[in-house]
Amino acid sequence: MNKREIKNNSKNVMVVCVACFSILILVMIFGFIIKESLPAISSEGFKLFSGMLWYPTHSEPEYGLAAMFIGSLLITLLTAVIVLPLGYIIAFFMYGYAMPWEKNIIKSSIDLLSGVPSVIIGSFLLVYVAPIFFKLGAWSRENILLGAVGLTILSLPYTASLMEEAMSSVDKSMKEGALALGATKFRAGFSVISKAAMPGLMNAVILTLNRIIGETMVVLMASGGAAIIPMSLWDPVRPLTAAIASEMGEVELGSIHYSSLFAAGLVLLTISFILTLISKKISRRSSK
């Protein structure tokens, strides 16, 4: 082997190593979480996932994740109901109506907003928004609606820019084709461009859901701590992420409590994994 070959080969080896390393980390995270959650799964069985009661520190402890899982789903759903239409409207306006300078303003404020640390959004909610909700009839200062508002603020920039990107990536000729038939900007954007951008829009939806369900700080601060299934917008809720974040620091290492927190992590990881797969599938199909 001459010098150049050695140089080339060593570069190849390095690239392969780095690539393998990232795969290794993923496998290790999965392996580690499964390993740590196994004691809880084997001692509690299916009850771990179906049980509604989460009393890990009682004298007769209960380790049911279902209420928190449903809490996670409900707060995600509630946020989605607010943030998806709002994001679409913003994207629609930016795509079809905004003048370049308006678009710039919206884009930069969105970028700034997406840079705000979630802990600041949480504090803002507790200090300024919670009292308003209190006047409106909330019985708990922290509740599912407050959490959903926080998640909305947090994910709106992301949703709007993803959706705008999806619409902008539709060939300009599609828009012109519709306008040339006499369609208004609204009609062209709504019935033609949005349809053509559907894979991208769906992808934005999935990625947004993924982001909401995994978000921790805002829900920890703003949505209250009760591991119950919320029945009204004013009820507190304890999503899986909040439970892990607040309890992991104090739990006895190796206990069933500790292990069931990892099981909660496993649930989250699985959801996120599935959503990512769906998103990949959508973008792969649309690029064909």
């Binding site: 000729s173 599609m174 084709g177 306008l179 040339a180 038939l181 006499g182 208004t184 033609v192 349809k195």
Partner: protein, 258 residues
Amino acid sequence: MPINDDKPSIVISVRNFNAYYSDKKALKEINLDFYKNKITAIIGPSGCGKSTLLRSINRMNDEIAGFRTEGEILYNGKNVNDKKLDLTLYRKNVGMVFQKPTPFPMSIYDNVSFGPRIHGIKNKSKIEDIVESSLKKAALWEEVKDELHKSALSLSGGQQQRLCIARALAVDPEVILLDEPTSALDPIATQKIEILLEELSQNYSIIIVTHNLSQAVRISDYMAYMFQGDLIEYDSTSKIIRSPKNELTEQYLTGRIG
């Protein structure tokens, strides 16, 4: 430029028309008349302004930042750049087909019925009639009549372009603008569209931009030759081919300007 033939009636006239993209002047003092139920070809090398002129006719450049115009384009005597113009109605009368076939991501039927529906036709059987007759006029009916509800994206490129023509016909226009409609198609599909355009010219006024000179010669009644934003020569196609008056036109026709 006046033409001393048997003088067909004028449908669109361009008067002292200038167009700018920001500071760049794309069209310089254009004056010409497009005639009713004739095919007029606008030819010239790339960047000569032929597409800009065509797109100015149905205001497709409105969306482009920095684009502005001076002078007038008159459609049946009305200035199309008038702020009070009902753009929706105007574009219904002056339709456009683009270089790249642009079927909407919906069924063949929905593509053709899109126009009539946005212009307020609700009666289902009437829409069905329009879809059928438009597809027939665009010579596509026989090929798609059994699969009207299939996605338009499943059609071949030539079929897609004829679908776009059918879609433009469905709103019952008077003028059809075509911007290099065959440049993305193979020779057989191109030939089908050329035959179609000749048939359509009996009932519609057609303005076609093409950089395919032989195509312009084959199908057009009138020819406008443009070069670097100027209208160099405009006359009946046979006259231009036989005896171009301007040296630039002759150079283009003989292939010395590409």
